[in-house]
Amino acid sequence: MRRLVVLLALLGIAGMLIPTAPRPATAQPATTLIQGLGEEPENIDPQRTNRFHSLIVLSYVVEPLFTLDKDFKVVPLLAESYSWSADKKTLRVVLKRDLTFHNGSPVTSADVKATFERYITVSPLSSYLRPRTGGIVGMDTPDPRTIVFRFAQPKPLAMISDLADAHTGILPASFIASTPSTDIGIRALVGTGPFMFKEWVPGDRIVLERFDKYRWGPAFSPNRGPAYFQRMIFRIIPEDATMTAEVEAGNVDLTFDVTPAGLQRLRANPNVVVMQAPTYSVQYLVLNMERWFFQNAKVRQAIAHSIDKEAIARAAWLGVGRPVDGLINEATIGYWPGVKQYAYKYDPERAKALLAEAGWRPGPDGILRRDGDRFEVTLITFSNIDQWRRAGVIVQSQLKQVGIDVKVETAEVGATYDRARAGAFDIGIFRNTWWLGQPYLYFLTHSVNIPSSNFSRWPNSLLDKLLETAGNAVDDAEREQALNRVQRIIVESAVWVPLVSNTSLLAAKKSVGGLEVLGSHPWWPVHLRALALRRK
């Protein structure tokens, strides 16, 4: 009897080990696309979240009124047409005909109004349109397809900054009214997108189901709906090495969460396609202008000349970064290519000469001195992000070459920002990511943002005025001119030294079709992910 039990147990174990065809953890039909998510979204409520991994999922389910084509031009999505008043204080939007929500009810201007009311109340991203900042003071719905936004001040960027952003994804007014706000995006989400929210198993997966009535994809998508895949499963896989293994084993069809280390393995795998695209994330260095030694422009220029951005891209970013010249890059709306000619090139000799001109002479230990002061500074950056910690060390060694002694002090993100706000640093290496140039540069360099997000502590009235013009001028050309000048002043000042932008990565199984369509658009927009991808 005992032997029989042992035999059966052995047979059972052997059975478990019998290989089957490559399969996901749960067997799914071929019309399912499995995406790997490296971080679990906290919720997928378009209005409450501002996190990347939430956006990845929710933008399949809800849609804003407009979207952006590959040249950053606003194109209609739920909207059919729009018109501005001459003073840019009134925007009239007409919805497409026959739009329906996943619950079957038609999309009306009342739904748009209810969504924007929720957006300007709860979203952490809605500051541009909040009433307090001269934003929305009223919304009229003269008929079910027309919505009129009334702003207190001219809001020329409203369409691009808010109305084309998934965080203003339209929800049904009845859904907003009948669902507790904290259940939205956790237990339920209803929108107009190509996929419907079906199930969220916490810690494990989020399942979306195709919306068969979907027909209103943007004009740049070859398929305007419905999607080819019946089902989209987001598997949550927090460990990088596990994610790489799942892609290698063919259990995950597509993921954006590829680390530089995983990239080398996946590139070598013949069954995996790896794509790269620029991101608008910029790693930059900023000088604390309250320090007397940085007030001399020659010293700042010397620092800019001493930094080899190529070396940072190679050694800190392991090949997934590239040097940038401006504080915003070409993936950001409003980028001015002309900024290139003002960027300081890597030239340690020139740096040494500039420092000598500023009165700094090498001491016996090779470190510069002036009037008895030794040139020693503190550099702060994030301890918990490799690319920042490593960049800090590289800058340290590069500044050492020209005679500046840098002490690197790292702490986790929150603590580092607290220290930056308190001004307790000489040099900082930070990051920021925003796809829209004007508000981003305003945030980083306008004097009203000292010390909360402008860490330079350098008030500059010309810069302030240009930033305001770039945001408020009714005339498009005037705004553009102002923003170009802003970019030039920032780079020329050498108060900020832009370092490296990373590329976003995508790894997909060879059997996923439509990747070339996705790659034709600079940031792989969700509508191409939803509508163009198919099983080969």
Binding site: M16, L17, P19, P22, R23, P24, A25, T26, A27, E40, E42, N43, R48, N50, P124, L125, S127, S181, T182, I186, V201, P202, G203, D204, R205, R235, I236, I237, P238, E239, A241, T242, A245, E246, E248, A249, N251, E412, V413, G414, A415, Y417, N432, W434, F443, S452, S453
Partner: protein, 312 residues
């Protein structure tokens, strides 16, 4: 016995109070959840407003007392990051973690008891030396690394077993297969320790008079070893089980992250990283209760293993 159990249960209260107080203070010292949640691009007034809504602008002591008062009524509050109720977030995570830890403990015992017993009765032979070497290998293996190694060998190279995740139906065939690697990762390393302990514990009793008596009565070897020797060698093993339980939960945190297992350990790590106090508090409290209860269970089992033990 009943009185004893009641007293032990009463002891839960200071344990839970102590653990939650320590965790609460540590978390508050190390970062601001609202800043972490919103990032840098969000206006300061909104951050302040959210802090007020969550009561984070109050002194830490007041926050702790408020939390305690609510928890006593069974209300564990809402998560700072998701806005969801903490109890609702923890509930679906309990099953997967218990599955993993209980199965891992069974694997540990299923491997180590026979291995320890055989090592003891075949003391000094090749079998004993091999068992010692194998034990050394496992005991020096970090959970994290072992998990990744299993994934690489059985998931990627051989393609025999699923790499990560828990199947929709955990007790289906596919479900059983998804359990294998995480359970082995969590269960095998402690087996080494248990094997050594079982061996030494067995060696002690095997030399006893009653074992010789049992043999001379003409009992077969199985009865001698299992009924007479092993049963008497069980006490130290049970003690070790009790001591290892907190480790098991600790190991589950790592194993769940490596294998993308939707358990409490992962939720705990995520919540600590986001300084989501209410969720961390809820899980830590739940785990503390589990550990205390399972230690109590071990103590009660002593009485069954050795009828001479009485609790008054």
């Amino acid at each position: 016995m009943t009185r004893y159990i009641f007293h032990r249960l009463m002891a839960l209260i200071p344990v839970v109070l102590g653990v939650t107080l320590v965790v609460f203070s540590l978390l508050h010292l190390t970062g601001d959840p609202v800043r972490l949640l919103f990032g840098l691009n969000v206006p300061e007034e909104l951050v302040q407003q959210r802090r007020q809504e969550l009561g984070l602008d109050r002194p830490v002591v007041i926050q702790y007392i408020r939390w305690l008062a609510r928890a006593a009524r069974g209300d564990f509050g809402v998560s700072i990051t998701t806005g969801d109720r903490v109890a609702a977030m923890i509930r679906p995570r309990i099953g997967p973690t218990l599955e993993l830890t209980v199965l891992a403990l069974l694997v540990t015992l299923a491997v180590s008891l026979p291995a320890g017993v055989i090592s003891a009765i075949r003391r000094g032979t090749v079998v004993d030396s091999v068992s010692r070497l194998v034990a050394l290998f496992w005991v020096s293996m970090p959970t994290f690394w072992l998990g990744l190694l299993f994934i690489l060998v059985f998931g990627v190279w051989l393609g025999l077993l699923p790499i990560s995740g828990r199947a929709e139906l955990p007790w289906s065939w596919e479900g059983v297969r998804t359990h294998i690697l995480p359970v082995l990762t969590l269960g095998l390393p402690p087996a080494a320790l248990f094997t050594r302990l079982t061996r030494s514990s067995m060696l002690e009793v095997i030399g006893e008079e009653y074992v010789r008596t049992a043999r001379s009565k003409g009992l077969d070897e199985w009865s001698v070893v299992v009924r007479h020797a092993l049963r008497n060698a069980l006490i130290p093993i049970l003690t070790l089980v009790g001591l290892r339980l907190p480790w098991l939960f600790g190991g589950a945190v790592i194993t769940e992250t490596v294998f993308a297992w939707p358990g409490m350990g992962r939720l705990l790590v995520d919540s600590v990283l986001k300084r989501d106090y209410p969720v961390v508090q809820g899980i830590v409290m739940f785990m503390a209760i589990l550990v205390v209860l399972s230690n109590l269970l071990v103590d009660v089992l002593y009485a069954y293993a050795d009828p001479r033990i009485r609790y008054e």
